[in-house]
Subunit: 378 residues, 2 copies
C-alpha cells in the first residue's frame, strides 16, 4: 500500500478566509483546523478516542519533550508515535525550537545548533537542524517542522535580523536533511520579530527554499493584538495560495477567527486543554470558571447546545463539585468540552467559508462571546 | 412505574461460595459482586461509562465525604446521587462511621451520636444514626448502611463489648428511622473487634432486629489474615442464607477469594482504583509496578489476555512513560485495567460457582498469581 503524496487542496475562499483539505500518510485534515496539543504523547486527560470524538483530525506533539522522555529512538523502536500513543490520524510535531527558547535560560546557540539542559534532569543536549528533522522522522510525524530560533521579544532590529538569518540558514539545512517520504511534509517557519518587512522577507525566503507548508512562529509572545495581526498579515502576504499556512501557538477563539480572516489554515494552542484542568470552560457565551461558588447549586448544563459528555450528562453543580474536589474526572470532562468547543468552532468556520458567509459567522460568533455567561441560577 | 422490592435470590452454592442476584430500584447486581469506590460521587479517573464497561453493576459512595461536600441537601435538590454523577445503576452508600473513625482524631462519641471535625475546613459536624439514614435516603442510595462505631484495634474485651453495645443500639435506631421504599434496602454491620463470640453475638442480634442484608465491618484494620478469616467465619455463621453478606473494605484478590469461600456476596475496596493512580496493576500473574525501569522499552501489553483499553491499545513501555511523566491518562488506563481485572475475577467466580467448580477455580487463580509477572523483555 502506497501512502498518498502530501498535499493541500484549496476548496473555497471567502472574505480572506480559506477552506481546504490536507492529505497526509495518516489521512486527511479539513482546514481551517485546530490541533489539540499532545505534549508528551498524550492529550492530557483524554483518551485518543475521546480526542477523536471531539472532531479533532490531527494533533500536535512536542519534539523537545519526547526527545528527552522517552527518547526518539525508544518511540521508533516501539513502532513510531502513532502506534506508541494509539493515535492513528495525522500528527504534526514541532521542532523543539520554541520549548528550548521558553523553558531554557541556559541555552547556548551557535551556527551549528543549540545546546540546552533538560528541564527534567539537567542533562546536556545538543540539537541541530539535521537532528531535529531526524528525530521527527523517527517519531513518524506527518508534518515535520524546521528547527527555528524564536526571536526574543522585545528585540532590536539588529537582533531580529541576526536571529532571522540563523533561522533561514537552519531552514535550508532542514530542507536538505528532510527525507522525502510519501504523505509526509516539511513546514518552514516565518520569524522576523515584530518587524513587518522582516516577516515579509522571511516568508519570501522560505518560499524560495520551498516547503510543503508555512508556519508563522514567534507570535503571541507578549505583543499586543494589533501588532500580532500586522505581523501575521506581513508574513502571510508572500505565501503561495495553494499551500497551507499554520499560526503556531495561537490562541483564543477570537484570535483564531481573526487569523482565519487573514488566510491561516492551521492552529494549535494549549488553552483548551490547560484551561480544562484549571476549571475554565470555553462556551459560546465566553469563558466560564466552574470553580466559582455561584455554580454550586446550578442544575443547568454548562452549555445546553453543546453535545459533549460534560454538557450532555452533568450539571454545572456537578462540574463545580469535581473541580472543587480536585477530581480527575473534572479535568477529563472540561478538557473534552473545551476541545469540542474549539472543533465545533472550526467546523462552523469551514461551513461558513463554504457557504460564503464567513464574515457574518465571525461577527455573530464574536458577538455572542461578548454577551457573557447565562444569568446566575436563582 | 413501581420499583421492584429490594431482594436477594440465592442461585447456587458450591464449596461454601454462593452465587446470587440482588434486586434494587436501579437494577440487579450479580453476586459475588465487587463495588468500585466512588468516594466523592466519582470513581476517580473514570467516566461512569468506563466504570460500567469494566462490568461493574454497583458502586459505593461515601456518606462522610458527600455530607461535607457538596452536602446531602444539595445532591437531593439536584435529583439525587444517581442523576448528580450520571450513574444509573445501583449505589450503596456507607454510613460515614468508618471515615469518622479513620480520618478524625478529634471525634467525640456518645450514646446520641458522634461529633467530628471536617477534614476539609475543620468545621464541627454531628452525626446520629437517624441523620445517617436520612442523609443516605436523600442521596437516594439503593443500599443504606447503618451508622456503626468501628471498634479500635487492638481493643480490650471490655472496650469491644462496649463498642458493640453502642453499634447495636445505633443499628436499632437506624432500623426504626429507615423509610421503607421499594427497591431500597438497609444493611446492618457486624462489629465485635477481634473476639469471635462477640462477632457471633453481634450477627445474631442484628438478625433479631432484621435487615435487608448484613455487612461485616471493622476488619482489615491491621489484624493478621488468620484472625480476619476467623472473625469473618464467626460473623457469617449466624446470618440467614437468603440474604446478602457484604465484607466491607476488603481487599486483595486473594482476600476476596477466601471470603467468597466463606459465604460472602459483596465487596468494596479502594485498592484497584488507588493502585491505578500509583502505577500498580493487578494481573493474573500478580501485581506489576509500571514505574519500574525494565518496562521502559517493553512493546508487550500489560496482560495479553485482558480486553481492557490499557491492554488492548498500548504497550507496557507507553504505560511506563505515562506514569513516569505523571500523565492523567496513565491513571485513567490503569484504573480501568484494575477494575476490569476485579470484575473479570468476580465473573469467573460466579461462573465457577454456577458450574460447581469454585474450589478448582480458586486454586488455579491463586496459583497463577504466585507465578509472578512474565519474564523481563530483553
Amino acid at each position: 500500500m502506497t501512502a498518498p503524496d502530501f498535499g493541500f487542496s484549496l476548496l473555497d475562499v471567502c472574505a480572506g478566509a480559506r477552506r481546504g483539505k490536507i492529505t497526509t500518510a495518516h489521512g486527511t485534515v479539513d482546514t481551517p483546523a485546530f490541533m489539540p496539543v499532545g505534549t508528551a504523547a498524550t492529550v492530557k486527560a483524554m483518551t485518543p478516542q475521546a480526542v477523536s470524538d471531539t472532531g479533532a483530525q490531527m494533533i500536535l506533539a512536542n519534539t523537545y519533550h519526547l526527545m528527552l522522555r522517552p527518547g526518539a529512538e525508544t518511540v521508533a523502536a516501539l513502532g513510531g508515535l502513532h502506534k506508541f500513543m494509539n493515535w492513528r490520524r495525522p500528527i504534526l510535531t514541532d521542532s523543539g525550537g520554541f520549548q528550548i527558547w521558553s523553558l531554557n535560560k541556559l541555552r547556548e546557540i551557535d551556527a551549528e545548533g543549540v545546546t540546552f539542559r533538560s528541564h527534567l534532569d539537567g542533562s546536556r543536549h545538543h540539537l541541530t537542524p539535521e537532528r531535529a528533522v531526524e528525530i521527527q522522522d523517527m517519531l513518524g510525524a506527518d508534518i515535520v517542522m524546521v528547527l527555528d530560533e524564536c526571536t526574543d521579544h522585545p528585540a532590536t532590529r539588529d537582533q531580529a535580523e541576526e536571529s532571522l538569518r540563523l533561522t533561514l540558514d537552519w531552514a535550508r539545512r532542514c530542507r536538505d536533511a528532510f527525507p522525502n517520504r510519501p504523505g509526509h511534509g516539511l513546514f518552514g517557519i516565518v520569524q522576523g520579530g515584530m518587524y513587518e518587512d522582516l516577516r515579509e522577507e522571511a516568508a519570501r525566503a522560505l518560499v524560495g527554499i520551498g516547503f510543503h507548508g508555512y508556519a508563522i512562529g514567534g507570535l503571541s509572545v507578549g505583543e499586543d493584538r494589533v501588532t500580532l495581526l500586522a505581523m501575521l498579515e506581513a508574513a502571510v502576504s508572500p505565501l503561495p495560495e495553494d499551500q497551507p499556512r499554520y499560526l503556531m501557538g495561537v490562541g483564543r477563539p477570537a484570535d483564531i477567527l481573526q487569523a482565519v480572516a487573514r488566510g491561516v489554515d492551521m492552529f494549535d494552542c494549549v488553552l483548551p486543554t490547560r484551561s480544562g484542568r484549571t476549571s475554565k470552560a470555553f462556551t459560546r457565551r465566553g469563558e466560564v470558571n466552574l470553580r466559582n461558588a455561584h455554580h454550586s447549586q446550578d442544575p443547568r448544563p454548562l452549555d445546553d447546545q453543546c453535545p459533549c459528555p460534560a454538557c450532555r450528562d452533568y450539571s454545572r453543580a456537578y462540574l463545580h463539585h469535581l473541580m472543587r474536589s480536585g477530581e480527575i474526572l473534572g479535568a477529563m470532562l472540561l478538557t473534552g468540552h473545551n476541545l469540542r468547543f474549539y472543533q465545533d468552532m472550526m467546523a462552523g468556520i469551514r461551513e461558513a467559508v463554504a457557504t460564503d458567509t464567513f464574515a457574518a459567522f465571525s461577527a455573530a460568533f464574536l458577538g455572542e462571546i461578548e454577551t457573557g455567561d447565562i444569568p446566575e441560577h436563582s
